[in-house]
Symmetry: C2
Subunit: 252 residues, 2 copies
């Protein structure tokens, strides 16, 4: 079972859009995929099912009130199931802070299930939810938009992920790659892309996700882009991303 | 002294862009304005000064190691000063959780200073940093982008802000308004704008901020849009927003 999380404390860089569409594209290859919505906003849950804040949810699993397999839901995408998130996750830091093994709740919960891929969506924060996601994962993908704020946050983000890995003694967490999102051909974007290429070299994933209003539209339809418009630039990009992720995650 | 915070737990909806440009536009009217960067990403600090994570910062104030006026910095904008943020703010929830009056640290710190306007930038979260910002404020502005995720989060966000107001017994916090950001004329945007108009009626601010690459460009120049391109659609919008905010905040 390959577990990967999508993380970036910068808001709105395409974490959820990547989780949903990467999972759906992997599902299209016939591989059983589980999405974990570890974000109290429940955006991945909504996009994949049309449900708003269903309960019970991941919150109840992390608080050890229910076991994970009891709350797995089917999604609108073939071969993709989901563990939903709800708003009680938003203040879980305060509730989990004093508990033993507080960063390992998700990791433990995942031991009882079996999928080919598990993909975890995280909130724009480096608190306990994201730490639980990292501790449970073998791989992390970091989406980065071609904006100044997204770029300048990258060094600190990578350093913090390393720190978390060390402090928690996470044995096998590695960076699968940095994923450029909101890619277009404006001068500002091309400048930033050039900086990212130099900075990250082979850690920059080959696939980049183009800016596309179709991605917003597909969330509204509660359909992935690879179901809605597989041959659009965004659809092709997420299909390519799935191939790149499958190859890279098997290789390690 | 009028204290207002800009809040929304959804990422990337234009909180920082609004804080920076609203503050600059108010500064252009000759009113002494203080920006508080209550977000560990330090985006407002970077945009207004070019500095990345200067210390000491708001973190040291909230942890009661230094008093606020000692860390106020000038910005690149006339009449605008800033209390910077740094990454230690990102895990302050865990550090503050056990302290007495943990949501009131910022409110207390603000008693010692005098500006005409104080504008607080918050992270995409409803944790202790945002709670400190709300407890310190008389007004809150909620930026909302014309996207599905931003829209569906609104009910829960407003309910949570009310809840926080009640639980903390914040006497005079009121919603100054909902601010539409990333406004354009696409069908998807016009649909969402229509829904927001119906839903919020007079609570929807008259000014809306157009989608404009110039706003991204002005962050890179460490210059506000009202200094860089005051007569661009985005520059005019933030100038109008300042007028609307000044009028509404005086009226209450
Ligand atoms: N490549 C793209 N082109 C155009 N729009 C996009 C693209 N990727 C994402 N979006 C849109 O941008 C918004 C932000 O994306 P998304 O919610 O996936 O980011 P996020 O990092 O998960 O945000 P948060 O930090 O709040 O969890 C959404 O409205 C989404 O539909
Ligand atoms: N009206 C707009 N038109 C075009 N780009 C914009 C607009 N408003 C903001 N942006 C850009 O969108 C990105 C997100 O904006 P911003 O950082 O202000 O959002 P935020 O809500 O503060 O994000 P976070 O939740 O991470 O704090 C930035 O790169 C910014 O330059
Ligand atoms: Mg998200
Ligand atoms: Mg911000």
């Amino acid at each position: 079972m390959i577990v990967l999380c999508v993380a970036n404390n910068k808001g709105g860089v395409g974490k959820t859009t990547t989780v949903v569409n990467l999972a759906a594209a992997i599902g299209k290859t016939g591989r059983k995929t589980l999405v974990i919505d570890a974000d109290g906003q429940g955006n991945a849950t909504y996009s994949l099912t049309g449900l708003v804040h269903p309960t019970p949810s991941l919150y109840d699993v992390l608080m050890e009130k229910i076991s994970l397999e009891k709350i797995i839901l089917p999604s609108n995408e073939e071969f993709v199931s989901i563990v939903p998130g709800d708003p009680r996750l938003q203040n879980i830091d305060i509730e989990l802070a004093a508990k033993p093994a507080r960063e390992w709740k998700l990791s433990r919960a995942l031991r009882l299930i079996d999928f080919e891929y598990v993909i975890i969506d995280t909130p724009p924060s480096l608190g306990l939810l994201t730490q639980n996601a990292l501790a449970a994962s073998q791989h992390v993908i970091i989406p980065v938009s071609l904006s100044e704020f997204s770029l300048i946050g990258m060094d600190k983000l990578l350093a913090t992920i390393d720190e978390i890995g060390d402090e928690l003694n996470i044995e096998d967490l590695e960076l699968l790659g940095v994923l450029v999102t909101f890619y277009d051909e404006t001068r500002l974007s091309r400048e930033t892309y050039g900086i990212l290429e130099k900075k990250f070299e082979e850690r920059l994933l080959t696939t980049h996700i183009p800016k596309s209003i179709k991605l917003e539209e597909s969330h509204r339809r509660n359909e992935s882009i690879v179901s809605f418009l597989p041959n659009s630039p965004a659809g092709l990009a997420y299909t390519d991303l799935a191939q790149e992720v499958i190859k890279k995650s098997k290789a390690s």
